[in-house]
Symmetry: C2
Subunit: 337 residues, 2 copies
DNA sequence: CGATTGTTTGTAATCGATTACAAATTTGTT
DNA sequence: AACAAATTTGTAATCGATTACAAACAATCG
């Protein structure tokens, strides 16, 4: 493979020479400038073809200081929650001649920094962050001079535009659904409450209980470290050990809920008869579990598409407003066997 | 947000002026060149701090024609199969001061092109492709002058270095496991056989049947379009309609296998008693299913790490050899209740 | 002190594109 | 044909870094 050394693609100068024109003309052809004679255009196009030339994005970006690249920050690619959102982002971006690059931060601030710098250094035009663990301080600083949009998780101070759903109301509806089914002892499997969405969903949970005159019991609220299947199993295990066992569970993510289902099953109980379960996110596996999972569906594709549109508008210095989208309760076997 | 217009980060000239030195000296400080007096270094570092300066990757990359960015091509982020591989790639890359960007192609050749061009244009230093649907022609062309490594799916002509497992032997072992359990009617849920791995796994399946003197029945081989859960359901449904119903199923992906499990369950049968099931990939959901899934585990992290090491070596013009890694059969409830 | 050597710093070319402005060419008019 | 106007093309500066080479400066020694 040593022969690869020293190879380098033809540049605009060589194309110009081969076509017998100036670099300016070649550049004009590349950018579809109207003031180029058909005859010279053909000459240049031939030269381009013969030399297999492709313009260097580096040179171009350096000069134009734009890259038409958008970064999408996610904490972890393994979370299926992001799949459809990314789809929405990507489709929208491409429609506007932008491309996206996925950046997995693993909640590691050094990686975050790298991606922030890509924006500062014009290697990318903007960022959509879906990482709830992100360094808010640094992100806010970045947003002072660069384009940033938050998707799903956001900051309450509103300093950065966001697109999200009404987490409190969604949780409220999920829990209300359980209560109306006759379940009086509803537990909550929540994630870490330093995340905004966790606090909001807890508020919704409590609001529903209060509305129906049910007590809010600390023993029925379990906070997990992560959103893993195993955390769901563990959470359910603890909830089953309480004196008054719950008859329903609202978990703030489908993965947690599926873990809870597994543990319910393992301990000889049946969902929904003994314990009904509601999840959150409507990931594709929520339809594959046994029983299938009742869950809150976020308009993921639309969230992604909206975030992308907002980001592109912001890059083009248009005014951008935060948006709250509608969610939907999807009822399946885990609550209505 | 209009005030963002015209903002631009300080450049090396301004730092030089503020520090009262030349740009060369600033550059030397940035690159930790030894020949800089501590006194001037401090002056420059102060100026850098005061101006909040960060060097432009564009300028630097243009000059150095390297970006220290690696592209990772995946057909779809939704496939959990890639998660651990990417983890391995990323960890290795960072160890060598490279960063990775995930590129979801959705098997769309226009997107492929964009990413290929990023490499041609030095916006990225190399590509690891895990996309079996990739345009082989174009990839081979790219690999003539740029660094490319294939991961998992590869080309038999060996023109591009790859890291993979022995698919044929893995399939052989999976099927042999089923046969040894006493199952004599083993079906195969395979994906599209224009993919190399699909052809190889089919060969392993047939080899195991032949070795035990079992017939190879066309009716027991079902090819799906995608690796979805629903394709698994559909496949199983068809297999259950055959005259001689299978007593075991080997599916070439866990998602397919989980779909098959679901359908087995839905039709009142039990796994593994009535029909045993083996999957492939050991995705995290494979031990959340009910029953948990027997499967072939690929050394995903190691595959990723190996691919990254190979790519970086290739970028640095070292000799690179293709590698075949070891897999493992993981026995769970779906074959041994 | 002046010559020689070694160290630190600066000057200017370079990477590959875009584009304002100038120059050249074509077209139109009388 | 001569000139003005409009169109097309070219020249050269520019984006922000790196680095070969030259220049300035400091240190060493007879």
């Amino acid at each position: 493979m040593v022969w690869k050394v020293g190879y380098s693609m033809a540049n605009i100068q060589e194309v110009a020479k081969k076509a017998g024109v100036s670099v300016a003309t070649v550049s004009r052809v590349l950018n579809h400038h109207p003031s180029v004679t058909p005859k010279t255009r053909v000459k240049v196009e031939n030269a381009i073809r013969e030399l297999n030339y492709e313009p260097s994005m580096l040179g171009r970006n350096l000069r134009n200081s734009e890259s038409r690249l958008l970064l999408v920050l996610i904490p972890s690619i393994s979370n299926p929650f992001y799949t459809e959102i990314i789809n929405g982002i990507q489709t929208t971006a491409i429609k506007h001649r932008y491309n996206i690059l996925l950046c997995e931060t693993n909640s590691d601030s050094r990686r975050e920094n790298i991606f922030f710098n890509m924006v500062k250094n014009k290697l990318a035009d903007g960022i959509i962050s879906m990482d709830p663990t992100i360094n808010r301080q640094k992100l806010t600083e970045l947003a002072e001079h660069h384009s940033v949009i938050l998707c799903s998780e956001y900051m309450e101070d509103g300093s950065i535009p966001y697109v999200t759903i009404d987490n409190e109301r969604a949780a409220y509806q999920a829990v209300k659904h359980l209560i109306i089914l006759g379940k009086k002892k509803v537990a909550l499997i929540n994630s870490d409450e330093r995340f905004l969405y966790a606090r909001q969903r807890r508020r919704g949970y409590e609001k529903a209980l209060m509305e129906f005159g049910l007590p809010i019991t600390d023993a029925f609220i379990y906070n997990t470290n992560e959103l893993n299947f195993h955390d769901g199993v563990q959470a359910m295990r603890m909830l089953l050990r309480t004196v008054e066992k719950p008859t329903a569970v609202f978990a703030v993510s489908d993965t947690l809920a599926i873990g809870a289902l597994k543990e319910i099953n393992a301990s000889g109980l049946k969902a929904p008869e003994d314990i009904a379960v509601v999840g959150f996110d409507n990931i594709s596996f929520s339809n594959m579990s046994n029983p299938t999972l009742t869950t809150i569906a976020q308009p993921m594709y639309k969230m992604g598409a909206t975030a992308a549109t907002m980001l592109i508008n912001q890059i083009q210095n248009k005014q951008v407003e935060s948006i709250v989208l509608e969610h939907e309760l999807i009822i399946r076997e885990s609550t209505m066997g």
